[in-house]
């Protein structure tokens, strides 16, 4: 890659209210994103509940790099590179499981669930092999928040708490929906591939302008109560938390309705077990407020999306190729809520989802669209005139305004300019 490609004039590509199509289709820019975003900033990898017992493991990724998320013998969570340190072979091919050790099928090098090299075959072929120097590679910084495990390939930089900033509160809020205050990821993932750049997915997650049109077919036939949240008269907010994190805050609409569990299209009467567990856990008044407010709709930059009832993880495969991993959120101590979470999730998302198949269609069409010209801007100016600050100082706008996209691109530009 030449110097020019490594240091484009980002100001020519990204303005306050518009960006160039090149950002979604240029393979050189994708390479720079791997370097400056995926292999530098905090990236969501997996949830602790996916590996509950010692020696549990699950295969994950950061950018293009294959990762093994493991729980070591002492209960510690590790993010290991899924690559034998001998000749680079993919160490583990199983999707998930429990393994005290991983044996490479190539030459039988053997690693512990904490990544240390246990031994290798025919050891007298090596003189003074330093086992400590041949443990599995690992993501240098690992941190978790409310069980959400993030990794950063940068040895130094902002802490996870600093990175999450104001958006951490949305994960606190999410946990409150469980009477035990904990989220679990236990229902397995749908993996939905799209021929589109990962940033189309990222930006769409908190775009409140599209649902009335992209999802008009399902709104026309299912009385889901979602459509009105994204209308011109909606009191819901878009919010920019900084650091690329954005939210569609639907609470103003749910508070207007003032009906517990209306956010989930049901009622406390229809979920008596859940409602009584919530009342016991939080007291009637607080439980009522939690059940009115519902769960957040928040996009944690660059790849973790909490969509009220489900969780998406965005995986970039190539400049025009991405995967959306999606599963139903599960809340500890809420079996009846969880059952409905799974049913609703299966209906709405994944390759055949009544909602997501149409979003994904838009990703792919927009991807084709941005090939049309290298001079046209993508215009993200909606609602600039009515942006304001909330009580915490975060920029907010109308539910259909492009506050989130502008916030994402401001942060993106800051990351990409750090060469």
């Amino acid at each position: 890659m030449n110097m020019l490609a490594r240091n484009p004039e980002w100001g020519d590509l990204i303005r306050r209210d518009r960006v160039r199509g090149d950002l979604y289709r240029n393979p050189s820019i994708f390479q720079l994103e791997l370097e400056r975003i995926w292999y530098r900033t905090w990236v969501y990898v997996g949830h602790e509940s996916e590996i509950p017992r010692p020696h549990d493991f699950v295969r994950k990724s950061i950018g293009l790099q294959p990762i093994l998320m493991t729980r070591g013998p002492d209960g510690h969570v590790h993010l290991l590179l899924n690559r034998c340190t001998h000749r680079g072979n993919q160490l583990c091919a199983k999707e998930q499981g429990n393994a005290v050790t991983f044996t490479c099928p190539f030459h039988a090098w053997n690693f512990g669930s904490d990544g240390r090299l246990v031994g290798c075959a025919f050891p007298d072929g090596y003189e003074g092999l330093d086992k400590n120097a041949h443990g599995l590679g690992r993501v240098p910084r690992v941190a978790s928040y409310r069980g959400f495990v993030f990794g950063s390939f940068a040895t130094e930089g902002p802490s996870l708490e600093e990175h999450l900033g104001g958006a951490a509160e949305t994960l606190d809020r999410l946990a409150l929906t469980s009477p035990e205050g904990e989220i679990e990821i236990t229902a397995g993932f749908l993996k939905h591939r799209v021929k589109a750049n990962w940033k189309f997915i990222l930006e769409n997650e908190t775009d409140g302008y599209h649902p009335a049109f992209v999802h008009s077919s399902i709104f026309a036939v299912a009385d889901s109560g979602i459509g009105s949240l994204y209308g011109a008269k909606s009191t819901a907010l878009t919010r920019d938390y900084g650091n690329g994190h954005t939210e569609l805050d639907l609470r103003p609409e749910f508070r207007k309705r003032d009906v517990p569990l209306s956010w989930f299209g049901t009622t406390a009467q229809r979920m008596p077990d859940y409602a009584s567990r919530m009342n016991r856990a939080y007291g009637d008044a607080k439980a009522r407020q939690i059940m009115i407010d519902g769960t957040p709709h928040v996009m944690i930059f660059p790849n973790l999306f909490i969509a009220e009832i489900q969780m998406f993880v965005i995986e970039p495969l190539a400049v025009e190729d991405s995967v959306q991993h999606v599963t139903a959120l599960q809340f500890k101590g809420a079996p009846d809520l969880n059952r409905r979470m799974r049913q609703q999730t299966m209906g709405s998302v994944g390759p055949a989802g009544l909602l997501l198949a149409d979003d994904s269609e838009m990703y792919e069409r927009t991807q084709r669209g941005v090939h049309a010209s290298d001079t046209d801007w993508i215009f993200l100016g909606r609602g600039e005139h009515r942006e304001r600050h909330d009580d915490s100082g975060f920029t907010v706008g109308h539910a259909t305004d492009e506050v989130p996209s502008r916030g994402i691109w401001r942060h993106y530009r800051a990351l990409m300019e750090q060469s």
């Binding site: 939905h192 021929k195 026309a220 390759p351 055949a352 009544l354 149409d358």
Partner: protein
């Protein structure tokens, strides 16, 4: 009557029914396709393996009868963008086996290959399908259809047509 129907005749009738079901799906005859379902029909496309528990784990589709109806209604709006334009489809249903038959239900298995041509490009889908069919006059109704995609453990593109 069933008592006098030979096994060969029965398999022929079943095959004709499966071919019709496939043709309705290929031709986007949504209402005709929906009419083939029993009142308690379940339409299931598992993910991450063929034998997961759909009550606990995510499936690509796990529709009860009312959701099958909703899926069809959505397609009929003409605003289901992922099917506007509709995928061009042709499928081959083969290796039909009658696995089990009793007075009320027939368990049938087959293999299916679908060629889909959509805006995105052309895709070949392959699956092992299992049906539970119920007799309905001279015809059948689908009580259960399971589509075990060969690649259901991988990341797959949108499949928004009737599979």
């Amino acid at each position: 009557m069933m008592q006098v129907q030979s096994r060969a005749d029965l398999i022929c009738d079943i095959s004709q029914f499966l071919f019709r079901e496939a043709r309705y799906a290929d031709d986007h005859r949504y209402e005709d396709w929906e009419a083939l379902w029993a009142e308690d029909g379940v339409y299931w496309i598992p993910a991450n393996g063929d034998d997961i528990d759909p009550e606990r784990q995510m499936s690509i589709i796990y529709d009860n009868r009312s959701r099958i109806s909703l899926r069809v209604k959505q397609l009929l709006t003409g605003k289901r963008h992922t099917q506007e334009p509709q995928s061009r489809l042709r499928r081959i249903v083969g290796d039909i086996e009658l696995v089990k038959a009793d007075a009320s239900e027939l368990h049938v298995a087959c293999n299916t290959i679908i060629f889909e041509s959509a805006l995105r490009g052309d895709i070949i889908w392959a699956s092992r399908n299992e049906f539970v069919l119920r007799r309905h006059g001279d015809d059948f109704r689908i009580a259960r259809k399971k589509v075990a995609l060969v690649n259901n453990d991988k990341a797959i593109f949108t499949m928004s047509f009737l599979v």
